[in-house]
């Protein structure tokens, strides 16, 4: 019995071992393996690692080729990756143009991590960001390497070098819109590096001492012998900007603007200075106009003063002087008309003002009062004519009264009556004539 029990115990262990061997963990079932990669893909997607997630989905798809859902997932994820990469690249270009190279680099890297075939991001990252000072040129219709070399280096023989530097074939035609980097190439009358460095140091010193024209002299001299020198351009730009600021201090805004337009676009401070110069030029023009308006005011040519100040206000709505002149001119004009008993014109001028302006409200009331009084006078004259049976004269008088005071309480009714009577009268008259 003991033996049997022991045997049974051994058998149970044996069966257990065999069963567990059957479920050996190294031999995962196809379904479990597939699930593992599904989960891995989902987790990677959640972590924001889209390229690795895509690969895990591909593994899952390889394990379960008949699963249509996965193919759709892969397509959707590929599309999302391409879209995100394009967005990063666009953002990178924006940063690059704004001169923020570090942020630009990060965006291009993010784009390429998602899509290693994004040629635009790779071009910016490898070529533009590695030559941030290098000048770039966009190929225009009709351009050739020879012509570009002749323009930029005054030496058509450098065409092949420009092509090679850009990894392009010098014998093949250039594609319009291609961005070409212009390498720094020394010219015929080359300066030694020491000479160039010494001249650049002198230019820098002149710049520090704010001797701007001296800086431009030196940079022009180096440029003649060795163009396309990035540091040179930066110095010249700084000098031109300094000169422009100085001209603006002297209120020579136009000349400052001309100078600023020569500074390389994108140079720090250029945009701001141009905006300021333009604003100053506009302000200067407004000031001149306002001086004119004020002169008109003094001469009593209020209509002209109004016209000029109105134009300044249209160009520059916030200009306080223009507003002052505009209001003063309307007020003076209103008063002048009132003095000349031209109440209607006075009202027209005064209504352009706020009633709170000086005693405008009072003047308007006065003009209105005078108009009403004169209207009343015409009304009475009309009544008198009516009583004398001079109907046409009565109508004319009441019409005048209404012109002066359209709200006259009785004039309109009486006039309409008179007009009806006149009509009847005329019809009777006609009938008499016909009867004869």
């Amino acid at each position: 019995m003991m033996l049997v029990r022991r045997n049974r115990f051994l058998l149970l262990i044996l069966v257990g071992i065999l069963l567990s061997w059957g479920f050996d963990s190294t031999a995962r079932s196809a379904a479990a393996e597939f699930q593992a990669y599904r989960q891995r893909a989902t987790a990677l997607e959640a972590q924001g690692d889209l390229p690795q997630a895509l690969f895990a989905w591909r593994v899952a798809a390889a394990l379960e080729p008949d699963d249509a859902g996965i193919k759709e997932t892969i397509q959707a994820l590929s599309a999302a990756i391409a879209k995100a990469a394009a967005e990063h690249s666009r953002q990178g270009i924006t940063y690059f143009r704004a001169g923020d190279l570090e942020k630009a680099r990060k965006e291009f890297l993010a784009a390429l991590r998602l899509d290693p075939d994004h040629d635009q991001a790779l071009f910016y990252l490898k070529r533009r960001l590695n030559n941030p000072d290098g000048e770039a040129y966009t190929v225009q219709p009709g351009d050739s390497f020879t012509q570009i070399a002749a323009t930029y280096y005054r030496d058509a023989d450098k065409a092949a070098l420009v092509a090679c530097f850009n990894d392009l074939d010098p014998d093949k035609p250039l594609r319009i819109g291609t961005t070409i980097l212009l390498p720094e190439l020394a010219t015929e009358k080359m300066l030694s590096r020491r000479e160039t460095d010494a001249m650049l140091a002198r230019a820098q010193q002149a710049l520090d001492e704010k001797k701007y024209s001296q800086v431009l002299d030196i940079t022009a001299r180096i440029d003649e012998k060795q163009p396309r020198y990035a540091r040179l351009r930066a110095l010249a730009d700084a000098a031109r900007l300094g000169q422009a600021v100085r001209l603006m201090e002297e209120k020579q805004y136009r000349r400052a603007l001309d100078l600023l337009n020569e500074v390389t676009p994108g140079f720090e401070g250029r945009g701001r200075a141009i905006d300021e110069a333009r604003q100053r030029i506009d302000a200067q023009a407004s000031e001149e106009k306002l001086r004119l308006a004020q002169a008109y005011m003094k001469k009593g040519a209020y209509l002209d003063a109004i016209q000029v100040s109105q134009r300044v206000m249209e160009e520059n709505p916030g200009n306080p002087i223009a507003k002052t002149v505009y209001e003063a001119a309307h007020y003076a004009l209103g008063k002048q008309y009132l003095d000349r008993n031209q109440e209607l014109k006075a009202l027209e001028a005064l209504k352009a003002l706020s009633p709170e302006y000086k005693d405008t409200a009072q003047l308007i009331a006065q003009a209105q009062g005078r108009l009403n009084a004169r209207a009343e006078e015409y009304y009475r004259r009309g009544v008198k004519h009516f009583l004398n049976e001079e109907l046409e004269a009565a109508v004319a008088a009441w019409q005048k009264a209404l012109e002066l005071n359209p709200q006259h309480p009785k004039a309109r009714q009486d006039m309409d009556n008179a007009l009806r009577l006149l009509d009847k009268w005329r019809n009777l008259d006609k009938g008499d004539k016909n009867g004869q």
Binding site: T26, S29, G48, L63, K106, P116, L122, F165, R194
Partner: protein, 333 residues
């Protein structure tokens, strides 16, 4: 007898089942996935008892040196029998771009290795050996320049701790001291030779260079005489450009002629590089050029202004270990 009837029946049943399992595969196991799945992007395989990561890399990737790809993707150190492994057939992270940063490749530049410690200038051979051993023991791997070039253009990825060792010299120490150390450790290097000095007294000869090339060393040039290519004060542009072009093209020709292989790699003598030299290098089909500016190279480095870390002999062990940056953290999500 009757007493034991039942257990015997059980025993027979169990052994029958075991025998059946031995024939058909796993006893009571769910359906198994196919042994090998393969498409354009990847293979999924089940490792056998004889497989190693290297043998799998040789079979599926065509190169045992690519075993790191399998190890990296599956997060394993070695292959185990029955293990399912994914083998990526295309670079999973070209350029070493990861969500949290990017790979950089240090290029070490040894100007001179000397036999004795007392020598004033140069890295003692014992120090060089210690450094190479450190690299090997810490998982660094030397890569060929063709691989580096692919990496720099986002066409390939490199092992995570990729490094390049370089010499610009035709002196005897290259073959006598450096080469054996590298060979012992299973490493390669790149040798930039001034071709005009080869076969001269106390210099390397073409036979030795060919032997190194056969061992997987890259042979580049640093011109005919390794004189700086900076412009002289009184030369005209035409003279200057002709001189530079001669240095580049004639040294390239000498290598092609003696080693029967094209030369695509350049080291700027004295480290001086310029746009003009780069344009001329490109004109002659060079693919990579190395400066002496310190630093490690990400994939987006300028292929013609690659950085190198100079090891002159004064460096401490700690400095050496810290200089080997192979990853730059940056949030790229």
């Amino acid at each position: 007898m009757r007493k034991y009837g039942c257990p015997y029946v059980l025993l027979v049943a169990v052994f029958w089942a075991a025998a059946a399992a031995g024939c058909t595969g796993r006893f009571l196991a769910p359906p198994e996935p196919p042994a090998v799945i393969r498409n354009d992007d990847l293979s999924v395989v089940t490792a056998t008892g004889q497989d190693t990561l290297e043998s799998l890399a040789l079979t599926y990737l065509g190169d045992a040196d690519e075993a790191w790809r399998i190890a990296q993707y599956n997060q394993v150190g070695k292959a185990q029998a029955g293990q399912r492994l994914v083998i990526p057939l295309r670079p999973v992270a070209p350029g070493g771009l990861q969500p949290d940063g990017y790979q950089t490749v240090p290029v070490l530049y040894y100007p001179r290795i000397v036999a004795e410690k007392r020598a004033a200038r140069g890295v003692p051979a014992s120090t060089f050996e210690a450094q190479v051993q450190f690299l090997r023991e810490n998982g660094y791997r030397t890569v060929r320049l063709a691989q580096l070039s692919e990496f720099l253009n986002l066409h390939a990825d490199l092992p995570p701790k990729a490094v390049v060792i370089s010499f610009d010299s035709a002196e005897r120490w290259v073959y006598d001291s450096a080469y054996p150390v590298l060979k012992r450790n299973g490493f390669t290097a790149v040798l930039f030779i001034p071709t005009g000095q080869i076969d001269k007294a106390r210099r390397l000869n073409w036979k030795e260079i060919a032997a190194m090339a056969a061992e997987g060393f890259d042979i580049g040039t640093s011109g005919i005489d390794a004189r700086s290519l900076a412009a002289g004060p009184k030369t005209t542009y035409k003279e200057y450009s002709r001189k530079v072009e001669d240095e580049i093209s004639l040294s390239q020709k000498a290598i092609a002629q003696h080693l029967k292989m094209p030369c695509h790699f350049f080291a700027y003598p004295g480290g001086y590089a310029s746009d003009m030299i780069i344009a001329l290098l490109k004109k002659h089909g060079f693919r990579l050029a190395f400066t002496r500016e310190a630093g490690s190279n990400p994939f987006f480095a300028d292929d013609f202004r690659l950085r190198r870390t100079l090891l002159g002999g004064q460096e401490t062990e700690v400095w050496f270990q810290q200089t080997l940056t192979t990853f730059q953290p940056m949030d790229l999500r």
